[in-house]
């Protein structure tokens, strides 16, 4: 009878290995280990996270800040916070229901609507901009087969042009999605008040994401209908618009709604930069006035909105998938 461990060892040796993947995992593991062992936040005596601004590489342990995490001052702060959580019912309100109705009427409802509107406007703008661009980022359209029939072989210059077109558009998508929405909006706020900075920031970031996902959807598409259209004399633009667009629309709509969900999440937060979404009332209004009861209410409204967005998106996606 053979030794089972020998078999296991043999199987293990035979398993495929990938250097890049192993190096990636190793780097990742070492990074996590290093962070917990050598930096500054205290977790039961283990330090994590650099704190002071003077330490340029930040991996020293600023002990006073570490102790501060669980200092008595923090606990007093927490007590004060909890003490202010109960709804402050005024005389006109009468009951908690009146308090809720007043806040919803004055701020909550319009803040929720604005949050939703920013998310919708941004994702529609992103989708409208991504739709014409994503065809240029699909590798399977940027070559001779099946778009050009035999007899007219394109030269090397044409191939170079195609390749640079695809990498150019894909590179553009990478850059558009690299910066977080919050940073984009922070810079765009100089354009002036109103919802434009938030909408533009969300649209730019999501254009990068939708563009890449859309290009990948086109790359995964079955090209035989496109070949038939080509044989019937369709041009490249006609193939993209009349064959591939209907063919890939369902998948694209799935991604569109998936990104809309995260737009709702981000739209709540972008209010902190001035547009009157829920984030504005959470941070700049309620917290600034130390009205923690209101703050929690708006936080909950944001959570409800995000979960409702998820639900709507899931329902629409299921409907589209079955259509």
């Amino acid at each position: 009878m053979s030794d089972p461990w020998a078999d296991i060892r043999r199987l293990r040796r035979a398993a495929p290995r990938d250097r890049v993947l192993r190096a990636s995992f190793l780097a990742f593991g070492l990074a996590v280990l290093g962070v917990w062992l050598f930096s500054g936040v205290s977790v039961i005596g283990i330090h994590l996270g650099p704190v002071t601004g003077d330490t340029s590489w930040g991996l020293q342990v600023p002990s006073e800040q570490v102790r501060d995490t669980f200092s008595p001052r923090r606990w007093e702060n927490l007590e004060r916070f909890v003490g202010r959580l109960a709804p402050r019912v005024t005389e006109q309100d009468g009951t908690v229901v009146g308090w809720f109705a007043r806040l919803m009427r004055d701020k909550g409802l319009s803040a929720m609507l604005t949050t939703l509107a920013v998310a919708v406007a941004a994702i529609v703008l992103a989708g409208a901009c991504a739709l014409p661009l994503l065809w240029l980022g699909a590798r399977n359209l940027a070559r001779a087969e099946p778009m050009i029939t035999a007899g007219k072989r394109p030269g090397p210059a044409r191939h170079l042009l195609w390749r640079s077109q695809v990498s150019g558009v894909r590179g553009l998508f990478v850059f558009l999605r690299a910066l977080p929405e919050y940073v984009l909006a922070f810079v765009l706020v100089v354009l002036g008040p109103g919802a434009w900075p938030a909408v533009l920031a969300l649209a730019i970031h999501n254009l990068g994401i939708l563009g890449r996902l859309g290009s990948e959807v086109v790359e995964d598409a079955d090209l035989s209908p496109a070949r038939q259209a080509r044989a019937a004399g369709a041009t490249r633009a006609q193939i993209a618009g009349l064959v591939l667009f209907p063919q890939t629309l369902s998948r694209m709509l799935l991604y569109f709604f998936y990104r809309w969900e995260s737009c709702v999440r981000e739209s709540v937060v972008l209010g902190m930069l001035g547009v009157a979404t829920l984030g504005y009332f959470i941070q700049n209004d309620a917290r600034a006035r130390l009205r923690y009861d209101e703050m929690i209410l708006y936080l909950l409204l944001g959570a409800v909105l995000v979960l409702a967005g998820d639900l709507v998106s899931a329902l629409v996606r299921r409907w589209v998938r079955n259509a």
């Binding site: 996590v32 939703l116 509107a117 910066l179 100089v190 109103g194 629309l249």
Partner: protein, 300 residues
């Protein structure tokens, strides 16, 4: 006599519009977009800054082409680090916070994802022979599943910055609190996706293990998880990218990541320096994006 040939087949009925039901969605989306734009008062003319703000706009965006390589303010003490070292430190700290958050995210995401998945629920019960304990096990299972789903929904329904605001109001934002705030929503999202991926993974190995007498946990760990492994790893890499963005942004609340430096440079009107930090963040995220693209391609 000439006879016209009669058609031997009838043409298939054509759908009136090639897109069908999806056209409804497209039109609804367009209408919703216009309604939203109308509600927010988005007019292209409003994109043109007011005359008195034009100088600032030109300053901010004009500086984008010439990011600073040295401090903009004069007369700084000579012993402080050069600007680029500071930028590097800020970028590194952004990664440090993201890595710290990620270790929590993966750990708790896997655990929550296990409880939120149904794939390990064996059809015939293990270790419970009498119907009473079997139904108790069933009830327990559904309770754990429900609680896990609710916890996941609560975690991901609130953005990391809002968790940070909450912590800030409650105790003040320490680095540890920032890491936890970062980790909470991403843990929820990761757990949800983990559960879905494991539930959709092929069940063949898990079924074999069950026939051999493996417990549900063993089936999950050695039958289901390895089958979903590649998808899980690819998605985890993508989450890390998101965490790096979140870690940068949490700096706007005073944590020493890139966001804090962007805000400070803006407040001091050092716009060239601000773009240096923005470009540093851009480079970090683009490198990660390309790296995770390589990993994804190798996994599939």
């Amino acid at each position: 006599m000439i006879t016209t040939p009669t058609p031997t087949h009838r043409a298939l009925p054509l759908r009136p519009f090639p897109i069908g039901a999806r056209a409804v969605v497209l039109v609804a989306v367009a209408v919703a977009g216009l309604l939203a734009a109308w509600y927010l008062g988005l007019h292209p003319a409003k994109l043109v800054p007011a005359p008195d703000a034009r100088g600032l706009v030109a300053d901010v965006f004009g500086s984008a082409v010439s990011p600073a390589v040295a401090y903009e303010s004069e007369g700084l003490p000579s012993d402080i680090d050069p600007l680029l070292v500071r930028v590097g430190g800020a970028a590194l700290r952004t990664l440090v916070y993201a890595a710290a958050g990620m270790s929590l995210v993966v750990l708790f995401g896997l655990v929550l994802g296990f409880f939120a998945s149904t794939a390990w629920w064996a059809d015939e019960e293990v270790g419970a022979s009498d119907p009473a304990s079997q139904s108790a096990w069933l009830v327990l299972r559904y309770c754990v599943y429900g609680v896990a789903r609710i916890v996941i929904a609560v975690m991901r329904s609130t953005h990391e910055l809002l968790w940070a605001v909450l912590f800030m109001a409650a105790m003040g934002l320490t680095p540890l609190a920032a890491v936890i705030a970062l980790a909470i929503p991403h843990t929820g999202i990761l757990a949800k996706i983990f559960a879905e991926m494991v539930d959709e993974a092929p069940r063949d190995s898990a079924n074999h293990l069950r026939v051999l007498g493996a417990s549900p946990l063993q089936q999950y760990l050695f039958g289901l998880l390895p089958r979903a492994r590649n998808d899980l790893i690819a998605y985890t890499f993508y989450r890390f990218e998101c965490l790096v963005r979140g870690s940068a942004v949490i700096g706007f609340f005073g944590i020493e990541t890139i966001g804090k430096y962007i805000r400070d440079a803006f407040d001091n009107r050092h716009f060239h320096e601000m773009w240096t930090y923005i470009y540093a963040l851009l480079i970090v995220v683009v490198v990660l994006d390309l790296w995770s693209g390589v990993v994804r391609r190798r996994l599939s």
